[in-house]
Assembly symmetry: C2
Homo-oligomer: 298 residues x 2
């Protein structure tokens, strides 16, 4: 008996993506390549890497290490998995060599700025660029951390452009689905607002809090007595300062909007505390506790 595969899942002889290029073969790029390889959705994987000595190739994540020019000339799908700040350079160097049939996508954690950059650099060829964001963080990084199952049951948000042809969007969607991900479409601005709320602002607040503790005259005593609540609340503050600086700057307006909304709730809570208004204080704490307990992912 032969398993009947959905139309978009093709076999090894007729893969979804004959040639895949991954620009930046780290945790995300490497895992994307590994997942598509494992499901036979790709025939050949090219990698564009900063370092000449290819760790990704040694690990079997890619078949060959190539230049941006070669990737642009040869690939059917190009995944750009560099930090958001590197997108402009990558697109500029590939643009003159891009074939019309090539589809590009990215993994940046903010999208409005990415769309702006893509349109500015690519001009009419922005139709070939389908912006994406796999929401799959991990403690580790680098190609050695890449695993084929990283995106299994994870969400990937696409923010398609009005000028994207349906088949370009479909290709990117199918590729992520083949990695085991759930794919959602959103506008770039809706994506950025939601991510500001559930990812960027927690990091911002956790870092601000952690900095304030570190600045206290009795910081040593505080840190010595801090326990498990502190541990959870500040875990994200240990992340890369440079990476998060770029995310905050890239998503500045949405982050500011959320912080303004939070400051309003904070001031209400502080006013209730100052007035010793236990009723209002408990109502707010109850709303938070209920929402957290009902969070379907816990």
């Amino acid at each position: 008996m032969t398993a009947v595969l959905p139309a978009h899942i093709k076999g090894a002889d007729d893969p979804l993506i004959p040639v895949l290029a991954v620009v930046g073969v780290g945790l995300i790029g490497g895992s994307f390549a590994a997942a598509l390889r494992r499901t036979n959705q790709v025939r050949r994987v090219l990698g564009v890497e900063r370092n000449a000595r290819s760790l990704a190739q040694a690990l079997g994540l890619i078949d060959a290490s190539v230049s941006l020019k070669e990737a642009a000339q040869q690939a059917d799908l190009i995944l750009i998995a560099t930090p958001v700040g590197g997108l402009e350079t990558v697109l500029s160097q590939m643009r003159p060599y891009l074939r019309d049939a090539t589809v590009l996508t990215d993994v940046g954690s903010t999208k409005a700025e990415v769309v702006q950059t893509a349109r500015r650099v690519l001009g009419k060829q922005s139709a070939q660029f389908v912006p994406g964001h796999p929401i799959a963080g991990a403690e580790r990084s680098g190609p050695e951390a890449a695993i084929a199952t990283l995106f299994k049951h994870r969400d990937v948000v696409l923010t398609p452009l009005a000028e994207n042809p349906p088949q370009a969007i479909a290709l990117v969607r199918s590729a992520w689905q083949a990695c085991g991900a759930r794919v959602l479409d959103m506008t770039a601005s809706a994506h950025d607002q939601v991510l500001a709320s559930i990812s960027h602002v927690p990091h911002f607040l956790s870092s601000v809090y952690m900095a304030q503790v570190a600045q206290a005259a009795d910081a040593t005593t505080r840190l010595a007595l801090a326990g498990s609540g502190f541990r959870d609340f500040t875990r994200i503050a240990a992340g890369s300062a440079k990476m998060w600086r770029d995310i905050f700057l890239s998503n500045r307006e949405a982050v500011q909007t959320e912080l303004t909304a939070i400051r309003k709730v904070l001031m209400q809570a502080e006013a209730a505390l100052q007035a010793q208004d236990g009723f209002s204080l408990q109502a707010l704490l109850e709303q938070a506790a209920q929402a957290r307990r009902n969070w379907p992912k816990e």
Copy 2:
């Protein structure tokens, strides 16, 4: 060969605490009793409980369920492990029956208010009351969650009163040390400021943030896309609204002082973001990341 025990650790025949009374035999009170029993530091354990049907006794945590009056009359050491709000009633009902030699201690997570209450209710007998706070949270609660090892390697802060005789302080210290805890002395106000910083404020901020997300028009989308950073940052917001309301009210001034300090750092960070001042933003994030990575308890 006989092990030589430190002077304050006595054997089963001559226990540190002939009769221990625990008021409120939940996670904390029950674990204290269990730890002292296991190390033979106690001969008889009395429990004062809200419910007549004693789960604590069935579990072997206490030998007998008694009234506050009986506890006051019979015990050598009384541990009050009720919520902070219940202290006044407990002390009032025990005061007329307290023997001069009896030592009392508590486990409240704020201390200035506890000291005030103890002095008001006990009058000159406040010399018998040594305030304490074991810093050992746990996800679970109730006598069925009690374990003899709960306080092992955990911190217990004592905030002795000027009127406490040295031997009363020594008894409470020895009891906690017998439970495996590290015992520190602090003033009540230093304790409250530190706890506001490393326990109460994280809960306050996490709850405010969680309430703001829950209040958003697109809360469902936000919560659906929230990931592991959100999970950690909001875990504490799921705690008991009533218990945390009481902690915030009880430690109002110290919490307000910390929130004011945090709001100052928050506004600096927001100003850097608004001005697209990547240098200042990264410096703040770096300070936070370094402090978190260097936290000795992780």
